[in-house]
Symmetry: C2
Subunit: 452 residues, 2 copies
């Protein structure tokens, strides 16, 4: 019987295992989990810390029993130490420190990413945390419950920083968020970032932008966060300054790296080393619009790439269709989403972009409860091709699935004009005869005509 | 200066006028409105009757001033009596009974549809209503406010029947809904119709299915609704048994008709009569999947067809992309939506369909407030092509825009498998790493594999 070995039991690894078992029920599939938490939703950790999710067990996408019922073998607390591509073996160390050599026919490396914090001093101090793995989430909440910190500084205004500002505010902590850029959530346009910053402040989060954090120090039982423009004190610090791919194991085995130091893979998720595939936060990701690899670690992407790696690890011929960078985040009452390229990204990608903002009601204004949606559409002036969209609105105004309509249109290379041809659903309590997606497209076209 | 004349000032007519003025600001555009309510949202009438929309003026998509500001000329209370295609003139009668002859270079017929009620006797009795035009909505609400009827019978369990059952319940009337089919909302599968029926009953609507209504009679100051399986008494009756295209004017001028007696048009919305276009509820509609015309009068379609007719009426070369039959309705707390073909429709269309239902949470179950979504996916067994989807869930679970993701995929002829390639947005409060749309696609594939 052929044996597929998978290193890593988070989104990409488990997705690969499930797909491999699905396409070839005769295939032997083994998954090495470095910790005791296979297939957990690490995206859910902010909601566990906030207390909205009472039990950490609820964060499991599937239980260990669910997983084993599909026929895969799970080896928990098994850390892979080395890969021998010539012998097709992996050496792993189990929880008791015992070495174990596992043979494979095909291998999927899904070692994920780790927090990128290297240029901040003092991260090993008690009360300083990162949030990347289940264990870190458990320790963080335990710390809050045991020590009752009153003030926290969050370093980094990206997705995790935003969600944790929300989460820790809910927990009753006074939150200061420090972002080195000019606005929070730099993955959307500054205007939208500004609104999010305002939403944070409306909930009593102190937002400091344009500050680089250099060190955390312990002083008289508290922590001092020092930046280039001053310092602030806290009882607890969370560093959420992004991630970097965890590639040491694969690199040692000869796997080549590319963008951002991530493992290089082709569209079949194959590395340069025979019989070795890789997927998830440790690899480069093909961008469907830029038509080149980028580094864009996301759970959705990890699932898709893992599925392709699993299919091919089982002898199939799956191809990863590419990312559009679709993302959404809810911060207190506001939802912000994006897909495709923003203006500056499109320009850097060789397009001639025009970005137009349009404000529309999420449903007919005459029906109670209508809320404003802000839609920013980016299209190519020359070809009229849709390049991207950013949406912002109140929770409940179908922001997320509206960005998905844009994402589905982008997937097919539609023009902005062609969005008007889409037969989208309408009833006055939920939309307009032209959905806001289409109204924004029409506004883009008017602006493009005037600009021409 | 060239003159575009448009007969009809509802969705299709105004959409045509707006688009014509947009593509050719030098074009003279005249719109004949039979009543005093140009560009009103007749889809909003149920919410006006319910009182959720206090003022009927709020139902206007745009005010008369908004419309005139675009440069179009509006002739209110002008009923077109005849078209002379050889002379390119239209005779209209104004509110004072004066005849007026208008010359055109190009003509758009957007005469809409009228209530189809012909086989029920007694519809002219006081207290018996249909709901198709603004005037009817105004009269209906006035009647309720003046006479305070306690009990109403609604004949017809389609979209309007459902919305009016909701609306009149909100107004405090005791509602009986009579549907001749085996379940309400026959445009979705009976299972979904059954749930909607239950939702109506949960709100104290009496639902009678499988009964044909033959007559309404006046008896001792009340109305008696007689059907083939008995009778029921009421103070008021609303007949909502569908519509038929209003084509007499165009037919008299030689415009050919097709499916369901609707005006025959090509993909450019041109009729067989030179210089005469037609759009909206009075015409056949090209079905993108069936690749043949159907009769499917919807506001969304009227807007799109009107836009194409207006573009071509202004000398452009627009093509109507076709309908997918996308529809959504909210009934009390439940939202039901569909797009594409249901199983039986697909079979009749020459496909070999398989329909699979999947239940998923609208977002990660660990995050508070997760609600069940039911998704029914129809695909072609042989080609794997996506053919349609039906969704049902509680209001607030992004049912409408999820059906739009399916609609956008259908528009591009995607396979069910390819839905997994879509880069859809995810955050735990709003979705899952595989959106329910994709989970349902995967369930369909598993079922198709097992059935093969």
């Amino acid at each position: 019987m052929s044996h597929l070995l998978i290193i890593g039991a988070s989104d990409a690894g488990i997705s690969a295992a499930l797909r491999a078992r699905e396409v070839d029920p005769a295939l032997e599939v083994t998954v090495l989990a470095a910790d005791e938490y296979p297939n957990y939703s690490i995206c859910g950790l902010p909601f566990y810390v906030s207390g909205e999710v009472p039990d950490w067990q609820d964060l499991a996408h599937r239980t260990t029993e669910d997983l084993e019922r599909t026929g895969m073998r799970l080896l928990l607390r098994h850390v892979a130490r080395s890969i021998d591509p010539a012998a097709r073996t992996v050496v792993a160390v189990d929880g008791e420190g015992r070495e174990r050599r596992l043979a494979y026919d095909r291998l999927v490396v899904a070692t994920g990413a780790e927090s990128a914090t290297s240029d901040i001093a003092g991260l090993d101090l008690p009360g300083v945390f990162t949030l990347r793995f289940m264990e870190e989430g458990l320790v963080l909440r335990q710390h809050i419950e045991a020590h009752g910190p009153a003030e926290v500084v969050i370093v980094g205004g990206g997705y995790i920083g935003m969600e944790m500002a929300d989460a820790l505010t809910r927990r009753g902590l006074a939150v200061t968020l420090i972002e080195h850029g000019a606005s929070v959530l730099k993955t959307v346009d500054p205007d939208f970032g500004g609104v999010l910053g305002g939403e944070l402040e409306r909930h009593d989060v102190r937002v400091i932008t344009g500050m680089d954090v250099q060190a955390v120090q312990a002083r008289e039982g508290r922590l001092v966060v020092r930046g280039d423009r001053g310092f602030t004190k806290a009882d607890m610090v969370l560093v959420a300054t992004g991630v970097r791919p965890a590639t040491a194991l694969a690199r040692a085995a000869g796997v080549a790296t590319g963008v951002h130091g991530a493992l290089r893979v082709d569209r079949h998720m194959a590395t340069n080393v025979p019989h070795v595939y890789a997927a998830g936060d440790c690899v480069e990701t093909w961008h469907r619009l830029l038509e080149r690899p980028v580094y864009l670690p996301l759970g959705t992407t990890a699932h898709k790439q893992g599925r392709v790696a699993g299919e091919n690890g089982a002898g199939g011929e799956g191809t990863y269709a590419g990312t559009l960078g679709t993302q959404v985040v809810k911060v207190f009452g506001i939802v912000v989403a994006r897909t495709g390229l923003r203006d500056e990204e499109a320009r850097a990608g060789g397009f001639d972009p025009l970005t137009v903002e349009w404000t529309a009601w999420d449903h007919k204004a005459y029906y109670p409860g209508a809320r404003e949606l802000r839609l920013r559409v980016t299209g190519d002036r020359g070809s009229g091709r849709l390049l991207g969209a950013q949406l912002m609105g109140l929770h409940g105004s179908e922001v997320a699935k509206r960005v998905d309509v844009f994402a589905t249109a982008l997937f097919h290379g539609m023009t902005v004009e062609a969005l008007n041809d889409l037969d989208l659903s309408y009833t006055p309590p939920l939309s307009s005869p032209w959905d806001p997606v289409q109204m924004a497209a029409q506004a883009w076209q008017r602006a493009a005509r005037e600009a021409a």
